[in-house]
């Protein structure tokens, strides 16, 4: 059995009075790619955002239960959120590079966290861009605004920005839903290339994508985790009726 990087235990989440996550138990193995699937509105993004505590920004969100990162509960009030977020990076559904130059985007996290000296900066930026397969395309335009890139390039830039700070976990929230098939293929290739280096969790509503990239898959429905297992098992031999209906395309 692999080492467990993230362990979600009995997690409940409310927005005001509305319960959005119900008693979630989920163990995410280190270095692997785990997919979260389920119909729209079932709580996938909400679960993902709990893992780097983005709900802190919402005054009416309440969480109960535990999320252990290497055995430490990140929901504990003494957790240093800034430090946590540096260890757990995130790539969002809509590509969201900052309105700055390409190089500044990648350097942002490094500067904020003072992770390297000025002289190392350029090399780190280049390395991150290479790792996200963007270097060849932007090497001559590092000072150009990131907003002039295409959607697919922007999303790869966001990945470069996330990996530049060398997190341990990267969370992807439907990273390809706004992209064309060619850009999607590039991103998938990129995610698979990062397997082993990072623990990756990817939310997707595209079941082919989950099958192509993920080692493990979790199926959620109406705020509950219905089933979790190796990707092949979830898609070929689902244990639950609901999972079976969903992966065979009978609803959703």
């Amino acid at each position: 059995m692999e080492k467990i990087k993230l362990d979600v235990q009995a997690l409940d989440l409310f927005f005001g009075k509305k319960q959005v996550l119900k008693n979630i138990h989920l163990s995410i193995p280190e270095g692997k790619i785990t997919a979260l699937i389920g119909p729209s509105g079932c709580g996938k993004s909400t679960l993902l955002r709990s893992i780097n505590r983005l709900h802190d920004l919402h005054p009416d969100a309440r969480l109960m239960g535990k999320i252990l990162l290497d055995g430490h509960n990140i929901l504990h009030r003494n957790t240093n959120v800034v430090h946590l977020r540096r260890r757990v990076g995130m790539v969002f559904q809509k590509p969201n590079p900052f309105p700055m130059s390409i190089a500044e985007n990648v350097a942002y996290g490094l500067k904020i966290n003072a992770l390297c000296s000025k002289s190392e900066m350029r090399a780190r930026v280049e390395q991150s861009l290479r790792n996200s397969f963007l270097w060849e395309e932007v090497a001559d335009d590092l000072d150009k605004s990131a907003l002039e890139l295409s959607g697919g390039q922007q999303q790869r830039l966001c990945i470069a920005r996330a990996i530049a700070v060398e997190p341990e976990v990267i969370l992807f929230d439907e990273p390809c839903s706004a992209l064309d098939p060619i850009s999607t293929a590039k991103i998938e290739e990129l995610i698979m290339g990062l397997r082993g280096k990072f623990t990756q969790v990817i939310v997707t509503h595209n079941m082919q994508q989950a099958q192509r990239v993920a080692d493990y898959t979790a199926f959620m429905y109406l705020g509950e985790l219905i089933e979790f297992g190796e990707t092949r098992q979830i898609f070929e031999k689902p244990q639950q009726e609901l999972t079976k209906n969903y992966v065979s395309g009978h609803f959703g």
Binding site: F98, P99, I112, V165
Partner: protein, 294 residues
Amino acid sequence: MKSRFFWDTFFNKTLSAAALVSVLTLAGIFLLLLYNGLQAFSTIDIAEFLSAAPWNPAAYDAPVFGIGAMLFSTLIVTFGSMLIAVPLGIGTAAFLSEMASPRLRNLLKPAIEMLAAIPSVVIGFLGIVLVAPGLAQVFDLPNGLNALNGSILLAVMALPTLISVSEDAIHAVPDYYKEASYALGANRWETLLRVTLPACKSGVLAAVMLGLGRALGETMTVLMATGNATAMPHSIFDPVRTITATVAIEMGEVPFRTPHFYSLFACALVLFLITLGVNIAAERLAARLRKKGQ
């Protein structure tokens, strides 16, 4: 069908007419200023007009028409007010938008906007009875009616617009920028300074320009609160007389169509050109920021 077409044409024509009226009014004002202002120079030497010789059109012997000291005074009072209002205004806007609870924000923002409705005479009055004596005490001055007093009062007047408009701009920055920044380990302060504010700098610049415009053109407050000495000021603690105050004080007493009368139009023209220049510069800068940014 026919009636819809009629209404469409009707609105189209009405709106064009409204736009035309505004443009013609503005052009008319400008031409009036230009026509009357330029006539001043048929009797007044333009070099004298632009010099620092103290303005004294009703002098005991020969009238002196030097706008230099007033121009400088106008600039230091305005610049000073921006030095106070810009950090304070943007800080308040950022607090309201990013830190305050929605309830506090919904309470404070309308309250601040209502400050804009305070008539300038009231601000000037407060300057005379409250701020000026306070300044005199704090800085151990014989009298607090000086450039600094004007700057403070103008800052107070510029703040409501500045806060309201820049709060709108900051608030309009999409959450996904902020979330991306937080997700990289930035705290609220870093996110505000490095992501949120840069992302809305053209909006914030517009807010600053509106405030600057208000400060440059304000008459009543500076007339009441700055001491109105025509000498060239040497520090912010000297009394000053701005261009607006001069026009306001003298326009009432001047017989029409005299050199003094035209010279006041020339003053107004100078003020107009400054405001125009500032606005054009701001427009250019904002356009450039927009191109680089969002």
